[in-house]
Amino acid sequence: MLARLLTVYLKPYTSLLVAVVVFQLVGTIASLYLPTLNADIIDNGVAKGDTTYILQVGALMLGVSLVQVVCSVAAVWFGARSAMGFGRDVRAGIFTQVGRFSAKEMGRFGAPTLITRTTNDVQQVQMLVLLTCTMMVAAPITAVGGVFMALKQDVGLAWIIVVSVTVLVAAISLIISRMVPQFQRMQKRLDAVNRVLREQISGIRVVRAFVREDEERARFGIANDDLTDTAMRVGRLMAFMFPTVLLVLNVSSVAVMWFGGHRVDQGDMQVGSLTAFLSYLMQILMSIMMATFMLVLVPRASVSADRITEVLGTEPSVLPPVGPVTTTTSRATVELRGATFAYPGAEDPVLRDVSLRCGPGMTTAILGGTGSGKTTLINLVPRLFDATEGEVLVDGVDVRELDPATLHSIIGLVPQKAFLFSGTIRSNILYGKEDATDEEIWDALRIAQAEDFVRDLDLGLDAPVSQGGTNFSGGQRQRLAMARAIVRRPEIYLFDDSFSALDMGTDSRLRAALKPITRDATVIVVAQRVSSVVDADQIIVLDDGAVVGAGTHEQLLESCATYQEIVASQELVEAA
């Protein structure tokens, strides 16, 4: 998956990447050339006492260094651009893909993981690309080039390279392979510590009310000890790393000196070559060490790549029509004909064979327990889901043939969880109607019973709304969410259990204020309580995804057993 993601998304950057490789190649060759030149100084300059030669070669070395730095800088430039460009493109890819998702796919993934995938996971892979471009590419080139140059100096000592590289790789791999599982365990234990802390903070009242501080301390103590224990193990392994690498490097140099000394004595090798060989060996070992460390990033990046590819590879289940219908014949009607909805692979459908009809000026209430399919039903109208069987018609046209823009422009939805965007109150209301005047905004706020508290704010409409609207109470958020729908003056209002966060006084005032503006609109209300639906023109009773009753309150009281049951249960609640 990692490979595929990289191939697809790095393709636009092929020329940049080629440039990176070329520059790294030239730069590495330049830096590998330096010890050879140094050997030259020793063997042909120093040993012969030729100062002019020393200066000449010195100038050459300067030139080579210059080439090297220019190449490195160029490689960093192209590397940074391709890695960051890659990250940007993948993020955009995911974002666009998620934008096409229907509520079904959103439900399958959930917003939090999609956010992580777009941010952190992309970050992981992008990191790998960046480090590969700036460091990893150079490592194998240095290693191969270093071996080549070292062998050019002397073939007889090649075995030292083989042995020291093997030992180094073995030592590092051993330490890392023991460290990786410990790291995973440590992450889990860190999560555990953080979980306890999170629970303590969110449950602080309960902890204090039940006088459980000591137990909490003990619970935390265990998690803390566990974490420390694992962190200790990881740290000990880590403590091995640096001295081990250093030891391998140093012992190899001693070996080169000893065995090289013999070869020099036998006249197989020059002293300068010995020094150069030593330099090359160090460069080879360092580059291999770097490469090993980098390789640790690969598994993590590849997990991230899998998570990204999963999103990119998920086809949205709701697709816009090919030849969309942009005009509708009737106004403010919603009709369901045998609509059934099931999640793929699920045994039971969430909704089965639901038929209903709502016309202008009509209020339809949908009643049922949790999990009875109320929200799913309401979501079929704006095509957040597509019915798996049957059809949904809005203004007489199958929603699957309607232009999404047309469809959405006639719907005002207030979701169960009032969600506000960061910005200002104004920007949130404008979300419902981009060109609304201040007058229209205040009007909407008035109807939604939000006028008073907005007027009380120092900045009024320009009062800031933090992300998720956390600086407003649940009831206030709900009312602002209503105002956002109201300002649209849509043909169809969809209220998904939107009144639950309001206290009873506000609730009734809001309903009264809504009445005049919904005279020609269709209103569909999802509700839990019978008391909030009695006045509806028709009540649809859902049980386990199926319509078990439809009609007015009086009709249902007589005919529908489930309705009677619900009514009875709520009377019990009232009387309890």
Partner: protein, 671 residues
């Protein structure tokens, strides 16, 4: 986008792949600390309990670094022996070194003659002295092995010190949480607080772990290497030293230029992540309100901004390494040339030049390490500052030294002229007095923000009252210990808090050491038993904060069972209202009724129907009790309560309700 933080944190020493990687992107920019030195000193103060070990670590570092530093010098000697052997072999056997030098001079090769003259152990006609070479190399080997062992031991001990210190810090932070007044939790946003106790503490630990050893060895190496260089050749040392200010200037210049880009990168990242979060969380709205295109355009723009800032920042910071390497190479070239000239003129031995080259390499590396540590240190100390801020926050008033004993005489609660406010400029509760007789139930009604929850929080002494006093069975609650007070009170909160654990553990939370029978009895009394039996794992079902497999109502029932188990003499109920399945709600109602019987109880009621039989109903508005009395009395009075009551019950199924026609017109239920 912490690649920037990561890259410099990955020095050759290799502690780079810490668990920090897992939270990349979630940690925010390396903020500057406010008072770097005082805070850094305080971080060091955390190590006080480990003082002895710290001294040992210091000693070991000195030893390890010294040994590592003299290594190249010994290897240089070995090179000399080899070189002298090579030169010696070329000389005719039998002559002395002196004669050979003179012979060379006679031939006009003065430079070679000078070089030969400076050599110490040249035996003309003899090859390399392998005895001497062997001894030298064995010595080098020994030095290196000991150095590695010492360094390893040091790292081992240091690891213990850091981990224990981090553990103590975490414990201290957790302990502090229990001593903070509740008002602290109200004022500091939860996310912020969480981030302090988790991310910041973690960052402090990571910083300690990564900086201590590397900073120490780097600084020591710098000193040692510099000493060796001066010893070998003051002139070359001077050349090498020029690279220090040069490297620093390069780093400083780049850092200065990249800083704004990094800040921009962080802000752009934050903005982009914020946008992604909103677009995904509000996906439904974005779709239904037709904002997909706008949202995408905004995303594109921010994404592009981030790309620009990030590639700029990455490029600039990426320059540091090649440039420092370049300076190192320049160094190398100059030393090679000057050294070569000096060897040729006999002022220096080849081995010394070779050793010097190695030293100059060792010199630049710790330099870059120290430079890159500065970023890390900044962010670590900034985190430490936030943790210290938490640790220094005002604590709640300690319990009295000689606390009054609770009387346990039925739970009579009295408020006497109580005043309270969350902030001095906004009064909330003023001169409030009320009495709850033992066994009575007191219902509190009123609009949101009227102070209902505050009132019961005062009974729990979650907040300190400003004036007046509250008594429980005649004892002023501020004279009791909080534990004694709260031990008598059971509380069911509106937000159902369950911790990650089994249902059994969550119920048992109400009473430590509760027996299985007690737990089951509580569960049965509060209707928990019914639905738990339907679960495959029964009481061993694991629930978490989010609740997972339980409905809101079921979670509420568990918290009721918990309160039931604690057998309080006083009960506080904050009723749940939101989308609870009606059939479950019946059970919740029944359970609370069970719980309330024979106990003094305060009920914050959202549904008036549930409190008609309360012994006392308090109607609150703006922190005041505007009405009190029984249901019938209040209805008769025709005040605030009767207005609330009628608003709620118009159209509801309530046979008892007075003539619906008499209800105010302003209450149609569905539009």
């Amino acid at each position: 986008m912490s690649a920037t933080q990561q890259a410099p944190r990955r020095p050759a020493g290799g502690g780079g792949f810490g668990p920090r990687g897992g939270m990349m992107g979630s940690t925010m920019p390396a903020e500057k600390s406010l008072n770097f030195w005082p805070s850094a000193k305080r971080v060091l103060g955390l190590l006080r309990p480990e003082r002895a070990l710290m001294i040992l670590i210091l000693v070991m570092s000195v030893v390890g670094v010294t040994l590592n530093v003299i290594g190249p010098k010994i290897l240089g000697n070995a090179t000399n022996i080899i070189f002298e052997g090579v030169v010696g072999r070329q000389l005719p056997a039998g002559v002395t070194q002196q004669q050979a030098v003179e012979a060379l001079r006679a031939q006009g090769q003065t430079e070679l003659a000078d070089m030969l003259a400076s050599m110490q152990n040249v035996v003309p006609g003899q090859g390399i002295d392998f005895d001497a070479l062997g001894r030298t190399l064995m010595f080098a080997l020994l030095v290196y092995v000991i150095a590695s062992v010492v360094m390893w031991g040091m790292a081992w001990i240091l690891n213990g010190v850091v981990q224990r210190t981090a553990m103590r810090l975490r414990r201290e932070v957790e302990d502090k949480l229990h001593r903070l007044p509740l008002s602290y939790f109200d004022t500091v946003p939860r996310g912020e607080l969480l981030s302090r106790v988790t991310n910041d503490v973690d960052n402090v630990q990571q910083t300690m772990q990564q900086t201590f050893s590397q900073l120490l060895t780097s600084v020591l190496s710098l000193i040692g290497v510099l000493g060796m260089m001066i010893w070998i050749s003051p002139l070359l040392a001077l050349v090498a030293l020029i690279s220090v200010p040069l490297s620093m200037v390069v780093t400083a210049v780049i850092a200065k230029r990249s800083q704004p880009l990094f800040i921009q990168q962080w802000t752009e990242t934050g903005k982009l992540n914020g946008h992604i979060e909103e677009a995904f969380t509000g996906h439904t709205l974005v779709t239904v309100y037709g904002h997909q295109a706008t949202s995408e355009a905004q995303f594109e723009e921010r994404n592009e901004q981030l790309f620009k800032a990030a590639s700029g920042a990455q490029f600039l910071s990426g320059l540091i390494m090649p440039l420092i390497m370049f300076i190192g190479n320049l160094n190398y070239v100059f030393i090679a040339v000057i050294g070569g000239l000096k060897v040729a003129s006999g002022q220096m031995s080849l081995g010394d030049v070779q050793a010097f080259i190695q030293y100059s390499r060792q010199f630049t590396q710790p330099l870059t390490t120290v430079a890159s540590m500065s970023n890390l240190l900044q962010s670590g100390v900034a985190s430490a500052e936030r943790v210290f801020e938490l640790l220094d926050a005002d604590e709640q008033i300690p319990d009295p030294a000689e606390p009054a004993q609770p009387r346990h005489t039925g739970g009579r609660v009295q408020f006497e002229d109580v005043s309270f406010s969350y902030s001095p400029d906004k009064r909330l509760i003023e001169d409030l007095s009320l009495v709850a007789e033992p066994g009575h139930s007191v219902a509190i009604v009123g609009p949101t923000g009227a102070g209902k929850t505050t009132l019961v929080n005062l009974v729990m002494r979650f907040y300190e009252i400003g004036a007046g006093r509250i008594t429980l069975d005649g004892v002023d609650i501020s004279t009791m210990t909080r534990d004694d007070l709260r031990g008598q009170v059971g509380m069911v909160l509106q937000d159902t808090w369950l911790f990650e654990g089994t249902i059994r553990d969550n119920i048992a939370y109400g009473k430590p050491g509760a027996t299985e029978e007690e737990i089951l009895a509580a569960a049965r009394a509060t209707y928990v038993d019914r639905f738990v039996r339907a679960l495959p794992d029964g009481y061993d079902t694991v629930v978490d904060e989010e609740g997972g497999n339980l409905s809101a109502g079921e979670r509420q029932l568990i918290t009721i069972a918990r309160a039931f188990l604690s057998e309080p003499s006083l009960l506080i109920l904050d009723e749940a209202t939101s989308s609870v399945d009606t059939r479950t709600e019946v059970l919740v109602q029944k359970a609370t009724t069970t719980l309330r019987s024979d106990r003094t109880s305060f009920v914050i009621a959202h549904r008036l129907s549930t409190i008609r039989d309360a012994d006392l109903i308090l109607v609150m508005e703006d922190g005041r009790i505007v009405e009190q009395g029984t249901h019938d009395e209040l209805l008769e009075a025709g005040g605030a309560y009767s207005r609330l009551y009628q608003a709620q019950f118009v159209g509801a199924f309530d046979d008892d309700l007075a003539d619906p026609a008499a209800a105010p017109a302003a209450a149609p239920l569905a539009p």
